[in-house]
């Protein structure tokens, strides 16, 4: 729990609006790829300023689920969904909703670090402003702020004009986190953000997550159960028994790992399968 303690030392942001932490609720989410039903009736509440971990074996629909939250699911041809995703009570799928605004409010960090190769480190961090045509008073301050919060500032402050590709994998992933922070999202979804990283970088990202919690709601998909135990407040266990993925159990993280209610959850968290 050392990572939790560092979060208390964090200086509060004076540039980014930190007051607008939002709640996110998923209501009866189903998802399909073509006629293939991959996710069935997921109901989950994400309270403001909490970290929720989604665990479960591969193919159980965790990634699909988080991609329905920020409307990235619909990019896949043939993808469909049902249900509602309420961001502060408003359905993100409501007709007339500007989908780009939704994705600004619900930021995303991907499994594989994906900085823009044509941009420098600094440009990468600020790329969201350009992409979403946002104006910011002081770009330099924002740049430092985001890199600081992503735990990367010290390592890159002298080479902000270098290419993003010149960083190590772990640094690239933190660069992607900094990039997501620059547009000040209310919710951050992370799809196995550490699966391509070494243990040292993983630790750094986990520290970052713990620090970010104060200013946003975080949802993280992970295959690493120790990671779920370390960083999250709540854990949801997903499982597919050959059919569509379902949520088997949802509870405070300590309960999931110490006294799971469902036998399947216990089997999974104790490493008997998956």
């Amino acid at each position: 729990m050392t990572t939790m303690e560092t979060s208390k030392n964090m200086s509060t942001s004076n540039i980014l609006p930190t007051t607008n932490v939002a709640s996110l609720e998923a209501r009866g989410i189903h998802a399909w790829f073509g006629s293939h039903h991959v996710l069935s009736d997921i109901n989950l509440d994400f309270a403001p300023s909490t970290v929720t971990a989604l665990i479960g074996p591969s193919g159980c629909g965790k990634s699909t689920f988080i991609r329905t939250l920020n409307r990235m699911h619909e990019f896949i041809p043939g993808a469909a969904m049902a249900g509602e995703v309420l961001l502060d009570g408003k359905d993100v799928y409501a007709p007339g909703t500007d989908v780009t605004k939704i994705r600004l409010k619900i930021g995303m960090v991907f499994q594989k670090p994906n900085p823009f190769p044509s941009m420098s480190i600094g440009e990468n961090v600020l790329s969201g402003l350009k992409l979403a045509q946002l104006k910011v008073a002081n770009k330099d301050d924002l740049l430092e702020e985001c890199l600081e919060r992503a735990g990367l500032w010290k390592e890159v402050k002298d080479r902000l004009n270098a290419h993003g590709g010149s960083l190590s994998g772990g640094q690239q992933q933190r660069l992607c986190i900094a990039r997501a922070l620059a547009v000040s999202p209310q919710v951050l979804v992370m799809d196995e953000p550490c699966s391509a990283l070494d243990p040292g970088s993983t630790l750094k990202v986990e520290e970052t997550i713990s620090q970010l919690k104060a200013s946003m709601t975080i949802i993280i998909v992970t295959h690493n159960m120790q990671q779920a135990a370390r960083v999250s407040d709540y854990t949801a266990f997903f499982l597919s028994d050959g059919g569509p993925g379902q949520m088997i159990e949802y509870a405070p993280t300590s309960d999931i790992f110490s006294r799971p209610q469902d036998q399947r959850t216990e089997n999974y968290v104790t490493g008997r399968f998956g």
């Binding site: 990019f75 600004l104 991907f110 994906n114 941009m119 992409l131 547009v183």
Partner: protein, 329 residues
């Protein structure tokens, strides 16, 4: 014996050899033959052109590419009395027409490639792709006739407009009001002919833009156009330039279509709206029919010059592609 002695000086790298299998050797032979044959054919053509044109080019010297005179007079027996062969006007015309074509075709092609990849619904995409491919297979004489009969009257209107408002720029200026059969008309016809190749190359490189970067842009609240500017265009830039150079090469070598629409005049003309111009390939078709053997040799020399010009342009293109290629990926 001490093992402390530094061994570095005594050790040489091992020679590593691989023994290819028989089937591998055969296959390597087949593909090598295939790869070298195009080089061989091209080399033989260049050699043939040089051999036939050598005499003329030696007599003319540097004026073969610097003068703009093309005349030959023979006595009653068919002996050459006097000859003057200069390609300058044709070379300028070749470059001018091809550049006009690329300047017009490039934006159209890039936008159609972007439309096809990122905006068009699937059914429309299928129809458009096969239409564009068909355009590439269309005989060039038909483009030429269409350009002459249909395009020319309307291009005249646009040419006058360009002259009126942009006449202060030298290439849009015009001294004699002759607007038909100009390099501009030829350029427009050529543009239509090279749109398919540039579009299909652009479409290919745009479709290879990395999906995870595209998703990263969308996840940051990008609109489609913002995503294209940030990810797809930087990724495809060098490929698009390569496609444009392919188009430029095709436009420089195009014969029949240019011959049909262009008024071939042996005088250097940079005024693209003026009805006078030329193109090496159309010069050859113009003169080839009733040329004496000696003049045919001159035309072969002209072919060699065009060949070299195309090589130079392609070389420059490769350099540009190499230089822009690094930043985008």
């Amino acid at each position: 014996m001490s093992t402390e002695v530094s061994p570095a000086l005594n050790i040489t790298p091992r020679v590593i050899s691989t023994q290819p299998r028989r089937s591998d050797k055969v296959f390597r032979g087949v593909v090598t033959a295939g790869g070298l044959s195009s080089l061989l054919i091209l080399g033989l053509i260049a050699l043939f052109l040089g051999w036939r044109g050598f005499d003329v080019m030696r007599t003319q010297g540097i004026s073969f590419i610097t003068s703009s005179d093309w005349s030959i007079s023979t006595d009653d027996l068919g002996n050459v009395v006097e000859s003057n062969f200069g390609l300058a006007a044709m070379l300028v015309g070749t470059i001018l027409c091809a550049l006009i074509a690329v300047v017009i075709a490039l934006p159209i092609s890039v936008f159609s490639a972007l439309f096809l990849n990122f905006y068009a619904p699937n059914w429309l995409k299928r129809i458009l792709v096969s239409t564009i491919d068909m355009m590439a297979a269309f005989p060039s004489i038909l483009f030429g006739i269409w350009g002459f009969l249909v395009l020319m009257p309307s291009v005249e209107y646009w040419a006058k407009l360009l002259h009126k408002y942009l006449g202060f720029i030298p290439i849009f200026d015009i001294k004699v009001p002759v607007y038909t059969r100009s390099p501009f008309v030829a350029g427009v016809v050529l543009a239509i002919m090279i749109i398919p190749i540039i579009t299909s190359v652009s479409r290919e490189v745009f479709s290879q833009a990395p999906l995870d970067r595209i998703q990263a842009a969308y996840a940051l609240g990008a609109t489609r156009w913002a995503m294209i500017k940030a990810v797809v265009i930087p990724h495809g830039r060098s490929g698009v330039i390569g496609g444009a150079m392919l188009g430029l090469g095709r436009a420089m070598g195009e014969t029949v279509a240019v011959f049909t629409v262009l008024n071939i005049v042996f005088q250097i003309n940079w005024q693209m709206l003026l009805g006078a111009g030329g193109n090496v390939a159309s010069l050859i078709i113009l003169k080839f029919g009733d040329a004496s053997p000696y003049e045919i040799n001159a035309l072969m020399g002209a072919g060699l010059v065009l060949f070299i010009l195309t090589l130079i342009v392609n070389g420059i293109a490769n350099q540009i592609v190499k230089r822009t290629g690094k930043s985008g990926r």
